[in-house]
């Protein structure tokens, strides 16, 4: 029984990581409708930025976050303006362009670091909280709490502020939104920047957990797409619970089936959900189609 609960907890904490990484992509894919394969690399860049702040400037990674996230916002906004805005209605070219960006970011970091692995983990990851015989890593609990907090904050932002309402209007119908006087392009810029800033937050919080490598983005990107599609495009609770579901599936199938197959299992579930219910578990039915039709 204790094993079961330990797996449950590790699954939830892993799910927290997936949720945190996916919330940003959910904005980018769900709202701006950009198929951003480079999102995992944005997380990777943020991790290196955090590592740099901590090692060379001596800033605590949890404080560096407040430096890294705005930086990633600007970076994301620049990428959106220069590369992705011209490709707004061409999902196929977006796939190519963001794959090009993926290769570019990955190898730029490889060139700068010369392939050496870096890690902050020692000091932070050793902190383990145990309660009633259940163990949980402190840094992962922080990630889980942050994912939960960000999900709530983002929901509040989308429900109650004018820019948030503009984003929701654009999700529902970008043409009508434009007719209502919403500056759709500026909403895209803001949303994309927000999405990359959230990836920056994720990167900063994950730096104490993972060993840094230029290829680490690959661990997140398909998981993030799976979570976003599973939860429902443009749905914040969808991304949050979708992440938890994927984390739990991975953790349980890793223990009860075979660790080598854990990813294969949730990929199959993901494809099955995609085929049966393309709008995702919490998405609006039809939401997966609307934004992808040609609208200008």
């Amino acid at each position: 029984m204790e094993t079961f609960f330990n797996i449950l907890i590790s699954g939830i904490l892993l799910g927290g990581i997936y949720s945190l990484v996916s919330i940003g992509l959910n904005l980018i894919f769900g709202v701006v409708r950009i198929v951003n394969f480079a999102q995992g690399e944005i997380v990777m860049l943020a991790m290196y930025a955090t590592y740099f702040c901590t090692t060379y400037l001596g800033i605590n990674p949890y404080i560096a976050l407040f430096l890294v996230a705005p930086l990633m916002f600007l970076f994301g906004a620049a990428v959106q303006r220069i590369v992705l805005q011209p490709l707004q209605n061409e999902p196929m070219m977006q796939i190519f362009a963001t794959f090009g960006l993926l290769i570019l970011f990955e190898n730029s970091v490889l060139a700068l670091t010369r392939g050496e692995a870096h890690s902050l983990s020692g000091a932070y990851s050793s902190m383990v909280i145990s309660l009633f015989g259940l163990k949980a890593s402190g840094v992962r609990i922080v990630v889980f709490l942050a994912a939960t907090g960000i999900a709530f904050a983002l929901m509040f932002f989308l429900q109650n502020t004018m820019p948030g309402k503009a984003i929701r209007a654009v999700i529902q119908d970008r043409q009508s939104a434009r007719l209502m006087g919403i500056n759709v392009e500026r909403t895209y810029l803001l949303t994309f920047g927000l999405g990359t800033a959230l990836a920056g937050v994720a990167g900063a919080l994950l730096t104490p957990i993972y060993t840094l490598s230029p290829y680490i983005g690959g661990n997140f990107i398909l998981a993030a797409f799976a979570v976003v599609v599973l939860g429902g495009l443009g749905s914040v609770p969808g991304a949050y619970f979708g992440g938890l579901i994927v984390g739990l599936i991975e953790s349980f199938s890793g223990y009860y089936v075979d660790p080598a197959l854990k990813q294969a299992i949730w990929f199959i579930i993901f494809v099955a959900v995609l085929v049966v219910r393309p709008s995702g578990l919490m998405g609006q039915v039809g939401a997966e189609e609307v934004g992808l039709r040609e609208q200008s």
Binding site: V35, M92, G100, L104, A111, L261, A264, V271, L274
Partner: protein, 343 residues
């Protein structure tokens, strides 16, 4: 949903100058002869002939992808699955049953086709980027399975095919023979795409790419046409995988499933050359593969990953400014010149 691949200039050409099949084949045979020139020039240079063999093979594989990805507009990123099935099938038939690879490519093509139909039946419900993401996920599932099924694939250690040179083994000591083999395969793929492009199936695929709903309304059995297109594409990819297996002779899952090297590369080569054009994949591969190797030797030696930085920038720029690829841009220029001289 439209892609940028529409070779409108090509269609206009066909209307103004009715071409017979024979003259069309002759035209492409001439272009392929041009692609043959580097093989003659460099047949004795093992370094470049090696790269050339790769380039021809990837031209063929990108051409195979182009059937469903370019003509059909279905952006599969999971072609690595068919490629790997072809490679493993040929290796298993050759090693366990002693079947010559020349014949083993047929079961390889058949198995790749079966896999393609099984994968595509459900995923063809999805459109555009959702189809791309789903096929990408399937590629990753198969990657994990290939690592897991040790008896079939040798697991993470892979399969090693011993070097026994001989025509019937499809293993050669001289590199130029491989280049000749992959060149021949490329010619077959180009011939098939020429025939396909003019066939009823080709027109159906193009119609579906331009507007799926309108095609359905016009009475095209959309799912069936897409499945047949995918089957042709997968069969050719499977054969390519088999040839690849006998060429590299070391098959492990990362070599066969890594997305930027295999599944996505077919699409990227087509993009550079011209998606939905017949010669696009050939032009793209003959450009990208040597350039990548050249850069790897020059910049890549100085800066790790330097050659891929350049390629990444090239891909981003191509998707922004060269959406119809080199062939598309070329036909457009040709078209403009022709219109100017004959108003």
């Amino acid at each position: 949903m439209t892609t940028n691949a529409a070779p409108l200039a090509e269609a206009d050409n066909a209307r103004t100058r009715p071409t017979t099949l024979l003259s069309l084949v002759a035209r492409y045979a001439g272009l392929l002869m041009l692609a043959f020139v580097p093989l003659i020039v460099m047949w004795n240079d093992p370094y470049w002939i090696n790269i050339l063999a790769y380039a021809y093979l990837f031209a063929a594989l990108a051409g195979a992808w182009n059937v469903i990805g370019g003509f059909g507009g279905q952006f599969s990123l999971g072609h690595g699955v068919f490629f790997a099935i072809g490679a493993y099938t040929v290796a298993r038939f050759y090693l366990d049953l002693g079947v010559t690879p020349w014949l083993a490519v047929f079961p390889a093509a058949a198995l790749a086709t079966v896999a393609a139909v099984l994968i595509s039946w459900p995923t063809f419900r999805l459109r555009g980027p959702f189809f791309a993401i789903a096929t990408m996920a399937i590629n990753e599932v198969c990657f994990a399975l290939a690592n897991y099924t040790e008896r079939m694939t040798g697991g993470p250690r892979g399969i090693l095919i011993p070097f026994r040179a001989g025509f019937s083994n499809m293993i050669f000591a001289e590199r130029w023979k491989y280049a000749l083999l992959t060149f021949g395969f490329m010619c077959i793929v180009v011939l098939i795409t020429v025939l396909l492009r003019r066939s009823r199936l080709g027109h159906y695929l193009l119609a579906i790419r331009e507007d799926e709903d309108a095609s359905r309304a016009a009475g095209i059995d959309v799912l069936k046409v897409k499945l047949v297109g995918m089957a042709v594409s997968a069969a050719l990819t499977g054969i390519g995988g088999g040839i690849f297996a006998m060429y590299v002779r070391v098959l492990d899952p990362p070599t066969l499933f890594t997305l930027p090297d295999i599944g996505v590369k077919f699409a990227l080569i087509s993009l550079i050359g011209g998606i939905g054009t017949i010669m696009g994949p050939v032009v793209g591969a003959l450009l990208i593969v040597p350039v990548e190797n050249f850069l790897r030797g020059t910049i890549g030696g100085e800066i790790p990953g330097g050659h891929l930085i350049v390629l990444g920038i090239v891909f981003v720029c191509a998707s922004l400014f060269l959406k119809r690829g080199i062939v598309g841009a070329f036909t457009e220029i040709l078209h403009r010149i022709r219109n100017r001289t004959r108003p």
